[in-house]
Symmetry: D2
Subunit: 261 residues, 4 copies
């Protein structure tokens, strides 16, 4: 699937502030950047750095005044959607080193607190079926409601309140997976057919020797996702971090399919 | 300073369990391994993997029955203790990529919740003096009391209760630093003169272009520390993680200075 | 049902400490005290005061050294077990004044955090069926496990961990009820057929113009319960509060039926 | 001091909702109601009930559409401001029964978590000086900032964030007092000279055999306070509780001194 991405962020930043921007599509085996252009107004010199796990990149700068970031890309996504239910889990002692950080709890994914629940609810399931069941449970029990959470909402909060948005669904799924000793990381993404269009947050779990995308919200097809960044938590993958105060002026995101009849 | 390290862990593990062991001294510029021997009884084949940030190594295995790990090393520590107060802070937009994960909050270091306190208490201080003041505040306001916390205790808990052990002091210091946008990571270590002898937890902050050790407990000299592992939280650097249940039989740690008259 | 109660508490209190003791059966319409004797060794003069809502009594004293409290009673319990499902709920604006404090959240019953869950799960149910469904949900979803919680465990903790003891079951049920604007209070009780014998904690909800006992643990029959004290939380109804430190020596509780063939 | 109070609340309530209103000045020894008029539009029949501890009254009703409550009163406040520092504390075993509920933790006053801090910081102080020192500590360490907290903010949150409004100052003071076994309750009040005019929340502690007003915010003189209601927490004393959704249209409060030259 060939996707055209257009994203524009527009902020007013009163006093000079450090920023970290993570809105560029990552180049990975299953998503090839055909075209890719980042334009930024209202900042000092840009400094691109590698994202976590070598995936994607972040751009660092000092910004001031009217800050505008525009990103345009054409991405060829060639991601088969395999049957996750049949995929093998890896026991902890056989995990690759780079997956280990993703079995621990994190700020918004207190997986240690879900160990008993996860054992009680999902212990009978083998293989990727365990992940499928976790994502189904979340879809069935958590209401997707815009405005029901904020930047301080944790997986425990979502589990109790039973409402959340994409980052909350992702935090809860990552928490369940880690509570079962399955590596799970947060992924920010552009998502084709996401309505209303926005940055999306999903999860990757380590199954059958690779990271596999899972989206408990079911709001967008997995083969239309374009990864931006990965991390332990929503904080790590925020599309824009401003060390200071800023006022959002506007934000638009557009993901169009180019090769569709 | 040349140090002789002897560590022995002894557990009874009823049912086969995956383990992650992190008790080997790391080889870094300021700590050279002269001798180094890890012996393990009661486990299947060992699989060594690299620790986080390429520091030290972890050993993974399946363990069962009487599990005993013995580690012996001679380490030459050549760590000058510089005056941290004079060292320059790095603003976020100029941080190296590999330090970025250490400015975010983590499971036990909810740095986001300390931003106002840190601004109120430490904002007048420049350079490394900010870190020195944070460590002093913790030393002055938190009582070191064995048994006052457990594995679920967070930096917020410690801040409220005003009691903790080394991991709690480290969590609180890392939280303060991150709340001021200074990268800070947890470090597990062998510590000369620590009394009673035990694994120690301290902090490294990013100052003047390098990671600098800080120990808010003041329980052991910085030039007698031997790093084992680094991570975002105590969980990441636990000396032994058992995915199942185990019973501690005994644990002994000894750190002796060899070159002392 | 006529019940014989024998309770003995035995503590060692190193330094003189204030105590509040609440182990005497309350005299209410449906439980008549036939005999009733409280003996206390190791304290200064006793001062009995009325319990909350005028139910039962507490005894205050200064205690020191070997403190022993013995309580013996014969109680005639004449409590019909009505069909709660048919009982009418009272809307908030028609509640009696003395029930109002029991619709608010309390330390261990954060009912405000369960409002969305309760609406989602139980809003279709009218009358006492709502309470029956709540108690059933708790029985079905929470595992009764001794040692799974402690004195700081809240209803939110229990909801996440899915394990608890009687006080946790009661906290969760009271939280659910209050989240639906139904007054609910904690009740400490002696319980016939509770195994192993211990103090029990259950809930009273305001239904059809009276307080009705509910026990989500199903560990003891409602017509064999003897109320001791009522309050908002387990803290308010603790059988013994010691303002200082004490060491438990022994505790025995016995509830025997006298009129059984 | 003779005070004239005018309060008007104006809400739009889309669907019929139960309400509890607590805006009438309480009649107590030190505040005599000279005139007193409550007018309510937009509700069904009013039902006045007694407030907690027999202080003041609440009004219950069903409301719908444009709901307007107007309260006008003239109150003679004859409250000496004694020197609290010299007043005797009462040890727990000698407390009157009705003060006991106010030594326990509550939803927003987790006094159990402050026991170590309070011992560390205030244990050297006798008598009312302990309370004076607590109020001073809060005044010195917490910034009064409108908008820094919301209805879910607890005393622990305020202690960590170091910012709050009157209800947060009151919650923290009540928590400190209860952690030292001193009964403390929340009080809602009209406050002369409070700027901007609003409902105020302060604390009453049990000292020298009576409830004594304390206001850690120092925003209004104690002899110009007119109590409305008392309770364990801000929730219990909310001026308006709506069981449903409502939109605030306007709210005005005016407290004028009548006998001033």
């Amino acid at each position: 699937m060939r996707l055209q991405i257009n994203a524009t962020l527009h902020y007013a930043i009163a006093e000079t502030a450090d920023i970290i921007l993570a809105i560029e599509a990552a180049q990975t085996d299953d998503q090839i950047l055909v075209e890719d252009l980042l334009l930024i107004d209202g900042s000092g010199p840009l400094r691109p750095i590698e994202g976590e796990d070598g995936i994607g990149q972040r751009t660092l700068a000092l910004a001031r005044g009217l800050f505008m970031a525009t990103y345009q890309a054409v991405v060829e996504v060639t991601r088969p959607i395999p049957d996750m239910a049949q995929m093998a889990l890896t026991r902890p002692s056989e995990l690759p080193a780079f997956t280990i950080p993703y079995i621990w709890p994190s700020r918004y994914c207190q997986s240690d607190r879900f160990e008993d629940f996860v054992k009680r609810e999902f212990s009978g399931l083998d293989d990727g079926r365990k992940i499928v069941a976790m994502a189904d449970w979340i879809y069935d029990n958590i209401e997707y409601r815009i405005g029901s959470s904020d930047g301080s909402t944790t997986a425990v909060d979502v589990f109790v309140k039973r409402q959340g948005v994409c980052r909350d669904f992702a935090h809860l799924l990552a928490s369940f997976a880690r509570a079962a000793d399955i590596p799970a990381r947060l992924v920010s993404a552009y998502a084709w057919q996401l309505d209303p269009p926005d940055f999306h947050a999903v999860v990757e779990v380590w199954l059958d020797g690779a990271w596999r995308l899972v989206d408990a919200t079911r709001l967008a097809p997995l083969d239309g996702l374009v990864r931006i960044a990965v991390g332990r938590d929503a904080t790590d993958i925020a599309f824009l971090t401003i060390f200071g105060s800023a006022e959002l002026q506007s934000q638009t995101i557009e993901v169009r399919r180019l090769d569709q009849v």
